[in-house]
């Protein structure tokens, strides 16, 4: 099971993760979407929210479209 951690800290939530947590990935087996408390990535990063973390790899400025693609990539690697 791959855990997709979506940062739900205030910054990420307002900048779009509020939309990401509503996405449904039931069709892609082996993927679990988790809303996480602030991952703390916004504090010292030059990149922009919202952040998503999968297997310790961090993605920034994630849009619903981008998340679809990331999930596809991750599941293909299985």
């Amino acid at each position: 099971m791959i855990k997709i951690e979506i940062c739900c800290g205030t910054n990420c939530y307002i900048m779009g993760s509020c939309e990401l947590v509503t996405m449904n990935f039931n069709k892609n087996k082996g993927v679990e979407l988790v809303g996480s408390t602030c991952l703390g990535l916004c504090k010292d990063s030059v990149k922009r929210p919202p952040y998503v973390r999968i297997n310790n790899k961090v993605y920034s400025e994630v849009t619903p479209e981008k998340l679809q693609q990331i999930v596809l990539e991750v599941t293909n690697d299985l």
Partner: protein, 466 residues
């Protein structure tokens, strides 16, 4: 409202603007367009320079200025910042058109798409009364000089190849307040506009911006006066965390008090029920939605006698606070644009900011909502007002307690058709005794200033109510 690039940019602009103001580093205001659209980034419009030009105007609107008022194109954003900081006066034009962002969509033009098969029957050419359609290179084409946009051709094509190209802002405006000037750029007639904010949500180029009052509020916060934050019931679910966590967050921002408008919403339901029992007309309509009230005042005088005289929950809360302390400053925090207009005319409310603006302020101060205690005491009643059907439910419940059973009806969202019905309201059959009207589909949780998708906030709201 579905999250999109325009919303993302809008929030980014607000966040950076507020950050510049709270750190008193006005020079950074000038950098905002370059920070959001740096040299190597992907351009959203024709080129990055246009992106930056539009961003400049967005910051200007966030600082509380009308883009239309720009006299000197060389005036810098920092100067606009100083200008806002030095004054406490703003006008009642709450929407501003960013002319550079407007695509100047042509009104009602027709277009023959690739679906056209260049068929043999060619009904389009024969039905066109102006002879504007000719078939060339195996495809029908419209001569735009001859076309009068009657639309007859769209119905006869078997392939449905002819489409009317919509003008999103004009279609969305329920009262036709949006007009095109000679250059095809949208202009808003503030005499007609009811401040519903539908055009902001609809324009895919983000050409219509909301003038923010947040900088004035930041100014007041700095002076350490008694500032009350009046939070609308629809705040439920707008942030990660519970209502109590949101309240704590707002206090940390520097407000002296957080007041639940939901409490007063419950009072409004009681008072409207009372009013119903003593009414002289056959029906009564709700009065909470300011866009509806403005629509009635400007476009449908026939409805006026039926509208409840009860104050809105916002005004009621403001009145209560001003009576206790006339020196206090009331800031209403809600999802609504029309509330700005209501507050402008009311003596009880000083400023109105949206959830997005509050969110950007929280971001700029780097506060994590989830760090606070989640459980706390607050009244659950009145939160129902935030979604469509809530006012109706509140009023009927109160009447039922008095032993009166009524038929209620709700109007969920005002559009062009609905406004034309309001205009002939006297002649309509009214098989109900109480009518709830909300200008936004789904209620306040779908207002122009919300942060999250109404689907989520509806769930959160239901949790609180139960």
């Amino acid at each position: 409202m579905i999250y999109n690039n325009i919303i993302h940019i809008k929030r980014d602009v607000l966040y950076r603007t507020i950050k510049s103001i709270v750190t008193k580093d006005f020079a950074t205001l000038n950098k905002i367009p370059y920070e959001i659209a740096p040299r190597d980034s992907e351009n959203k419009r024709c080129c990055i320079h246009k992106d930056r030009a539009v961003l400049k105007y967005r910051v200007m609107a966030a600082l509380g200025h009308s883009v239309e008022d720009e006299k000197d194109e060389l005036m810098q954003l920092s100067d606009y910042g100083f200008k806002t900081m030095g004054s406490t006066k703003f006008d009642n034009r709450n929407l501003t058109v960013i002319h550079d962002a407007c695509r100047s969509c042509k009104l009602g033009s027709h277009y023959i798409s690739d679906v056209c098969a260049g068929c043999v029957a060619r009904p389009c050419t024969s039905i066109c009364p102006k002879g504007a359609i000719k078939v060339r290179d195996g495809r029908a084409k419209i001569d735009t000089n001859l076309c009068t946009n009657c639309g007859k051709c769209t119905d006869v094509c078997s392939y449905k190849a002819i489409v009317k190209v919509p003008v999103p802002c004009e279609i969305s405006c329920p009262v036709n307040a949006l007009k095109k000037n000679d250059l095809g750029i949208a202009t808003i007639d503030s005499e007609i506009c009811i401040n519903c904010g539908k055009c902001i949500k609809t324009c895919p180029f983000g050409a219509i911006a909301e003038k923010s009052q947040i900088v004035y509020v930041l100014n007041e916060l700095r002076e350490k006066k008694t500032i009350n934050a009046l939070i609308a019931p629809s705040i439920a679910g707008q942030f990660p965390g519970t209502i109590n966590q949101i309240r704590e967050t707002i206090l940390t921002l520097g407000y002296s008090n957080v007041v639940d408008v939901a409490e007063f919403a419950a009072l409004v339901a009681q008072e409207e029920a009372e009013e119903y029992l003593h009414k002289k007309t056959d029906i009564l309509t709700s009065s909470c939605c300011p866009a509806f009230i403005e629509c009635v005042k400007k476009h449908a005088h026939g409805v006026e006698p039926y509208v409840s005289k009860t104050l809105s929950p916002m005004a009621m809360a403001g009145k209560d606070l001003k009576e206790k302390n006339p020196q206090c400053i009331n800031v209403f925090i809600g999802p609504c644009l029309a509330k700005k207009s209501e507050a402008y005319k009311s003596e009880y409310i000083d400023y109105v900011i949206s959830f997005e603006e509050l969110g950007a302020h929280v971001m700029a101060m780097d506060i994590d909502v989830l760090q606070f205690e989640s459980m706390g005491k607050y009244d659950k009643i009145g939160y129902g007002f935030a979604s469509s059907g809530g006012v109706l439910k509140g009023v009927t419940q109160n009447l039922r307690d008095n032993g009166v059973w009524i038929n209620g009806e709700k109007i969920d969202g005002i559009d062009k058709k609905q406004v034309s019905q309001f205009k002939v309201f006297n002649k309509l059959k009214k098989p109900y005794e109480f009518l709830e009207v909300m200008a936004c589909e789904g209620g306040c949780i779908n207002g122009p200033g919300v942060i999250v998708n109404p689907v989520i906030s509806k769930k959160e709201l239901d949790k609180i109510k139960s």
